[in-house]
Symmetry: C2
Subunit: 341 residues, 2 copies
DNA sequence: ATGAAAGCGCTAACAA
DNA sequence: TTGTTAGCGCTTTCAT
């Protein structure tokens, strides 16, 4: 059985209601010039036929799209899932629709950006990849968009993020204050604005505490790879002189680390103090609770969404210098303890 | 500064390249009738101007949309995040683009379905709400779509899900075999196909084991509410005669329960054996490990996506009786133990 | 090898 | 109060 899904057009409605196409359009828009009974007749026919207006056609007539592109590196990451939900709610409340693109590399990113622009989306909310293609930059710079979390400074757009440097600095100081010196930082690639800032925070903590970072260890890797985190920790703990404390720089690494430490049966905080980046709900009950840097990620996404949608709706340009920074909170739980000599 | 984002049209390219609009179209499509040098000149101008074809206009000429709607009740749920990612990959690999809609109630669902149809999406993958509106049903039944996980039988579409009844039955039998009799089942609403089937499985386990379910306890609630799960458990454990074992019927309830049991400092499995529905990564290291019903959710989503995209691309109707059922596996960890008298 | 013109479904300006 | 017409940006005849 080959049923084809033929869409009902305004013309179909017009013929059945015995009026012109424009009357159909006006009736469905409740145009006051159309008589009440014509309106009701047209509406009746339309609903009987299951007529749904053709948005592409409307867009050609200048109607604005209701599509907001959201480009994320990873949706299983709790961070990004939270963002997706917050933005979805935001869009939904304002009559927009979220188009989700998952892109982890610059090529996929470029393809998706092109597609969204081709679809004439209303705008794009993007967590950029580390080294976007020039093509992507040129396209985005001429299209309404806003950057979330990561920031690429060749984009002329607004940015909503967290105070990465300050956060890592605070987390590291917590460990320093507990007496730790051989502290390992396992974070995301330095090619990312976030990776860079977080590393800077790690270093600043030593500097501001007046402590030589000669025992500090820094390891970087792809931010969305669980494997990288696992490998890094294994390697660290197998060193002749393993670190006494560990702080992570991405959520994915945090999750990987929790799993591997559990597998390796490492005693936390006895053998190793751990500060985790981000705050997925399960961190509360990992071992005796994971000390974390909690980010107000939902607020951030909502703020970003509201700002962006408002600017789009009022046709304000989004290529401003606007930037908004949320601050992380250190949540101390059982995974960090004073260094025992 | 009010910069507007004016889109470049084929006409702009045509004028600058000093050819007609149709030549531009043909050149960009590598039409063999156009001379090599014209092609390269047009392409050069197009890329210099940042021309991106207008999809809405193309759609009016019969081009098929590349938009696949995905309707989920909740994206922070690991289950659904996994589905979103799997489908996104699937779409991406086949030139489609995912439009994510989060709808938890029939009204929002109806709105989003209408919007997707209005945008003339290529098709819709839906996890339906419990009681969809008649309007939604009429629209969907005349539009390419497929149901995932939950099944509404007034939709004439294919369905990809898991063997809910069998899964719960297996999990419950595990508890029965360990000697438990006062077993509580906390699951999703009976209005959902899944909630119904899972409850049936719970009951069947008693029947097939020849055990009277006179001590069995059943509690139902909204599947996406963490609060419901927490309340249910609190109430259960405060009873004069609390259950000795607990099995959950939704992921969200499982997560809520893990948190509340941890908070209440309940000894698992000494005071309570627990079987969790679903298998988020963190379940491995909850206490001494959570015994779970593991679902091959990623496979399921991928299978569904491939089937659906293939049918859409080949313009085959998707309103078939096709259904595909994946099976859950019981993963025994530390949270279940023999009943101690 | 290229251009002119029609038409996709819709809305809005102009007629009646 | 309603109909007629033009045109949005594109592809595709049909013409040259």
């Amino acid at each position: 059985m080959t049923q084809s899904y033929k869409m009902v057009t305004a013309r179909d409605v017009a013929e059945l209601a015995d009026v012109s196409v424009s009357t159909v359009g006006r009736a469905l828009a409740d145009d006051p010039r159309i008589s009440a009974k014509t309106i009701s007749r047209v509406k009746e026919v339309a609903s009987r036929l299951g007529y749904v207006g053709n948005l592409p056609a409307r867009q050609m007539r200048g109607a604005k799209s209701n599509l907001i592109g959201l480009m994320l590196p990873d949706i299983r990451n709790y961070f990004y899932a939270t963002i997706a939900e917050a933005l979805s709610d935001c869009c939904s409340a304002n009559g927009y629709q979220l188009a989700l693109s998952i892109a982890n590399d610059p090529e996929t990113e470029a393809r998706h950006v092109t597609e969204l622009i081709s679809a004439r989306a209303a705008g794009i909310v993007i967590v950029p990849t580390a080294q976007p293609k020039r093509e992507t930059r040129d396209l985005l710079n001429n299209f309404p968009h806003v950057q979330l979390l990561r920031r690429v400074d060749t984009y002329n757009s607004a940015w909503f993020g967290i105070n990465d440097e300050e956060s890592l600095c605070e987390g590291t100081k917590h460990l320093l204050n507990l007496g730790h010196r051989r502290i390992a930082y396992v974070g995301g690639s330095l090619e990312l604005s976030t990776g860079n800032a977080r590393r800077a925070g790690f270093r600043r903590a030593f500097a501001e505490s007046g402590i030589e970072p000669d025992e500090a260890i820094e390891i970087f890797g792809p931010p969305s790879s669980a494997q990288f985190g696992a490998n890094a920790v294994t390697e660290l703990l197998n060193r002749p002189n393993p670190p006494t404390a560990l702080i992570t720089g991405t959520i994915r690494v945090t999750q990987a680390i929790l799993e591997i430490l559990h597998q390796m049966k490492i005693s936390v905080p006895e053998d190793l103090s751990v500060v985790g980046f981000g705050d997925a709900p399960e961190f509360k009950w990992w071992g005796s609770g994971l000390t974390t840097l909690r980010m107000p990620i939902e607020d951030l996404a909502t703020t970003c969404g509201l700002w962006f949608l408002h600017h789009i709706a009022s046709e304000r340009p989004t290529n401003q210098q606007h930037s908004s920074v949320a601050t992380a909170t250190l949540v101390v739980r059982g995974s960090t303890a004073p260094l025992s000599h």
